[in-house]
């Protein structure tokens, strides 16, 4: 758990006790600076992600064309 000297200078000891007794460790703002390990992506997952990325890029071109066509 966080040591007592590792607190914001304006935080009182009662505040510290309150935080430690009422928050889950993962809820502490300071802990969130540490990234969660990356996951392994399967071939199927990569395929779906790339397909949808290409879909989105293609559709954005369609939208831009639609805007251009309506303005002309």
């Amino acid at each position: 758990m966080p040591s007592k000297d590792k607190v914001d200078s304006a935080i009182t000891s009662s505040d510290q006790k309150l935080v430690l007794s009422s928050l889950e460790p993962e809820q502490l703002a300071g802990l969130k600076k540490h990234p969660i390990p990356r996951r392994h992506l399967s071939g199927l997952e990569k395929f779906v992600m790339w397909s949808l990325r290409i879909y989105l890029l293609f559709m954005m071109v369609v939208v831009i064309y639609q805007v251009w066509a309506s303005l002309h």
Binding site: M1, P2, S3, K6, V7, D8, A10, I11, D15, Q16, L18, V19, L20, S21, S22, L23, E24, P25, E26, Q27, L28, A29, G30, L31, K32, K33, H34, P35, I36, P37, R38, R39, L41, E45, V48, M49, L52, R53, Y55, L56, F58, M59, M60, V62, V63, Y65, Q66, V67, A69, S70, L71
Partner: protein, 463 residues
């Protein structure tokens, strides 16, 4: 202490002795003490108090998504197509929103991490930046449309554009200046409830309840068949209920509020109540403008306040003013929630403090992003000659197109046993979520076909 599933995969990486307790933690701890106290007590009042303490992100995200462009899309829907097809359709889209948003609430409660943070950590920066670019562009375009709505709504009362944009920025400042998530959430909830102002407007039009009931039960076909114009309205109505910023906002707000695994059941109620309130306002807006359809009034070129002006002969000055106020409220609330969703995402990705519990001195980057996004969007709206209505409809269409990739990240995270533990999505939720992804992708593809090969629609029986 109750350890979540993340503790299994992070202990080596996190030297907890280095963790600094902050004001953000203290404020959140105070909120959690009240939740624990309400949970420990028995009786109906305590249960209601617990629900009251835990609702917020779900209602705010749903009413926030009933934003300026959404309400204008619903108004355009009622005015151009009446109620037969679109009332049940809009209710269906809110059911989709519940399926999607429940996953974000569950993710936030289980991991205590924001959506952007999880995507970057679990999928890496390559996919993370794609996701951020989608969110950034979508949020910025949507913010512009919120200011368009505010400008149009206040324009009904004779407020000049610069004053309308200025007042929206002042409202945004007041909304976040409290530096306390709880106060911010309650204040915004109180204002967001004014979204229901469209209900009295609908009642003032003296709707034919038999027709409304019949529309709900029978789901009439699309008037005029499937055309490119109707498809844009269909997509705009879908984009009015499910958009990428909602995923990022509700998950981050759930984390900022401090919800835990124990709160998930009430988090679901929060999401469903929010969807029910937002669907009521959306259906009311369609009913309110349906008389314009019934009177064969041309509504193609109406903007936010022009719907109010068009309705004035039918519902009087008071009703029209209520409609304009509703458009302003929708834009104001959404400008706050969308700016905050951008600021949350920035903070999560840049590993900078990101919480509405932060004092300004500790959250300079968070608050700067929030105000910079809003101020830039507001300034763009003041450019003369902007095609406002078209921008509004297209923003909702773009939101629908950006949803499938965003939903796949959400789907994979909600099924990631390493971060979710036993809170991974059940089979029924996965089936529903897959259905939503397929539906949105097909809707987008249909739009693409309508642009590239419009004759296909004539072949299918449209115009």
């Amino acid at each position: 202490m109750n350890l979540g599933p993340l503790s299994r995969i992070t202990p080596q990486a996190v030297p907890q002795e280095d963790v600094v307790i902050t004001h953000e933690d203290v404020d959140r701890a105070h909120d959690r003490v009240r939740v624990s106290s309400a949970r420990a007590q028995r009786g109906a009042f305590s249960k209601f108090r617990l629900l009251w303490l835990l609702v917020g992100p779900g209602i705010l995200v749903m009413l926030g998504e009933n934003d300026g462009p959404s309400m204008i899309s619903y108004a355009a829907t009622g005015a151009r197509f009446g109620i037969g097809f679109f009332i049940p359709f809009v209710i269906l889209t809110f059911c989709m929103a519940i399926v999607v948003q429940e996953m974000t609430m569950r993710l936030g409660s289980a991991t205590h991490r924001g959506h952007a943070e999880l995507i970057f950590d679990r999928f890496g920066p390559f996919w993370g930046w794609f996701s951020m670019i989608d969110l950034g562009i979508g949020n910025f375009l949507t913010l512009i449309t919120e200011f368009i709505a505010i400008r149009a709504g206040l324009g009904f009362f004779g407020v000049p554009p610069w004053a309308a944009v200025g007042s929206a920025l002042v409202f945004l400042s007041l909304a976040v200046i409290m530096h306390r998530y709880w106060t911010w959430e309650r204040t915004l909830l109180a204002i967001a409830v004014f979204n229901l102002v469209f209900v009295p407007v609908a009642l003032l039009t003296h709707p034919n309840w038999h027709s409304v009931g019949s529309a709900l039960v029978t789901w009439k076909p699309l008037p005029g068949g499937l055309t490119q114009d109707t498809l844009i309205i269909v997509l705009a109505d879908i984009g009015a209920t499910v958009t990428p910023w909602m995923l990022f906002f509700q998950q981050s707000a759930t984390v900022d509020k401090g919800l835990t695994r124990k709160d998930i059941h009430l988090g679901r109620i929060d999401t469903v109540v929010g969807a029910a309130l937002a669907a009521t306002a959306a259906v009311a807006t369609i009913i309110a403008t349906a008389p314009l359809f019934a009177h064969h009034m041309t509504a193609e070129n109406f903007q936010g306040a022009e719907f109010a002006q068009a309705l004035q002969p039918l519902i009087g000055r008071f009703g029209a003013a209520l409609f304009a106020i509703g458009i302003v409220e929708a834009g104001m609330v959404a400008s706050v929630t969308i700016s905050i969703s951008s600021a949350y995402a920035f903070g999560e990705v840049a590993r900078r403090p990101h919480s509405l519990n932060l004092p300004v001195a500790q959250g300079k980057a968070f608050y700067s992003v929030l105000f910079l996004c809003a101020a830039t969007a507001g300034a763009i709206v003041l450019i003369p000659g902007l095609p406002l209505v078209y921008v509004i409809l297209l923003v909702n269409v773009v939101a629908v197109l950006a949803m499938p990739p965003a939903l796949v990240f959400l789907f994979m995270l909600a099924n990631d046993r390493e971060v979710m533990g036993d809170l991974v999505s059940p089979r029924w939720a996965n089936i529903l979520a897959t259905g939503v992804v397929v539906f949105l992708t097909l809707a987008g593809l249909l739009f693409g076909i309508s642009v590239i090969a419009p004759n296909v629609f004539a072949f299918l029986g449209g115009k």
